[in-house]
Amino acid sequence: MRHLMNPLDLTVEEIDGILDLANDIEANPSKYSHKCDGLKIATLFYEPSTRTRLSFEAAMINLGGQVLGFSSAASSSATKGESVADTIRMISCYADICAIRHPKEGAAYVASTKSSIPVINAGDGGHQHPTQTLTDLLTIRSLKGHLDNLTVGFCGDLKFGRTVHSLIHAMIRYPNVRFVLISPEELRVPSYIREDVLAKNNVPYKEVVRLEDALPELDLLYMTRVQKERFFNEEDYVRMKDFYILDKEKMKLAGQDMLVLHPLPRVNEIAVEVDDDPRAAYFKQVQYGVYARMALILTLLKWRDQ
């Protein structure tokens, strides 16, 4: 049985297989509509999420399966002090596969060590978010046609932005990918990403503060939200939240083929006026998210049965 904690749990070949399956689901949805008849996914969401939870639920329903779970810690036994380890042991008796989101980093890993069903990390604090990564990879590969030979810009909260960390981990495995990390000093990408992931693997990257300086050279701009829930101090959040706003004017600096991605939800970091720009791919990304999760659920259930 396999779990998914980190995009690196999957080899490049396994990721390719999941993306191929996702593209086939996109092309032939009816072929997959009964693949999970009689099966259940448990969605254990200890912190609020609209997109990821509904995306998992839509994915399982599209496959003919059913859904159970909770959408906040307040509506779970966590309020009574139940540990993640105990909760997952109980859920293993109710469901066939589980997706867990938790504000604490490493919570999904703890669950995976005690679970008898496949566990998918649906986001653990500011740490990892591998299904967003699969979504991002699927979006990029489907719209760009390839995952290699790309200059990828990440902009905003690169310190707590788990989608950024996960996508960097995944993309360094493709040849000739370089990164431009655009953030204020306080929200720089964590040292372990710079030292253990980028420098150690000789992946070219540079850090800049001004978005305008980076835009002309990017094939892909990945915007992120400054996440209020990651700050212990309201004052720091207020100071950081309006640091970057991508608008029509700035988009003029970007190449005609540059894609704009965003894990959503967006607050104000992408002006609404950019939504109609053909380079804005963030709503397509949401649709790809469902296909990616359908493919992942099918793959983990197949591996469980092998």
Binding site: S83, V84, A85, H102, P103, K104, E105, G106, A107, Y109, V110, D124, G125, G126, H127, S191, Y192, E195, D196, K200, F232
Partner: protein, 142 residues
């Protein structure tokens, strides 16, 4: 030099950086042992100027000395049997450190979940970097 009684069976931790002996005392949980422990601070050393030394009168297998490699791999471990040094053990960086270091990341699951082992793994032997198994935060300061 101050004379501390000779060990019959036990071990001597020599060449401890001056001032670090109490840190090692706590990490090795020597306070929990019911045997003779001698702590020598600021002993004269040709090599180091000043050094600390710890002598413990118990079989070395009773202790997990792997952590010493993490604290300072220049420490010399002399194993004594029948009053003689029978082995000088080399210290290496342990691949995994369990329940000795504590993750200080307030966002780590170990900060709230009960009954979890505190596990750190060696992720970069060259730079001697240990990271929390759960949140991957780098361990800083002893």
């Amino acid at each position: 030099m101050l004379n501390v009684g000779q060990l019959h069976e036990g071990f001597v931790l020599d060449h401890i950086e001056a001032g670090k002996c109490m840190t090692i005392y706590h990490y090795l949980k020597l306070d929990e042992l019911d045997c003779t422990v001698a702590i020598i601070k600021n002993a004269t050393s040709n090599k180091m100027g000043k050094k600390d030394i710890i002598k413990v009168e118990c079989p070395i297998d009773m202790l997990n000395i792997d952590i010493l490699g993490f604290i300072d791999h220049n420490i010399t471990v002399n194993i004594i049997k029948n009053g003689e040094i029978v082995e000088k053990r080399e210290l290496t960086l342990p691949k995994k450190i369990v329940n000795i270091l504590k993750c200080k990341n307030p966002r780590c699951i170990t900060s709230i979940e009960q009954g979890l082992d505190q596990i750190f793994t060696l992720t970069d032997p060259e730079k001697e970097v240990y990271r929390c198994k759960y949140c991957e935060q780098k361990y800083k300061e002893l």
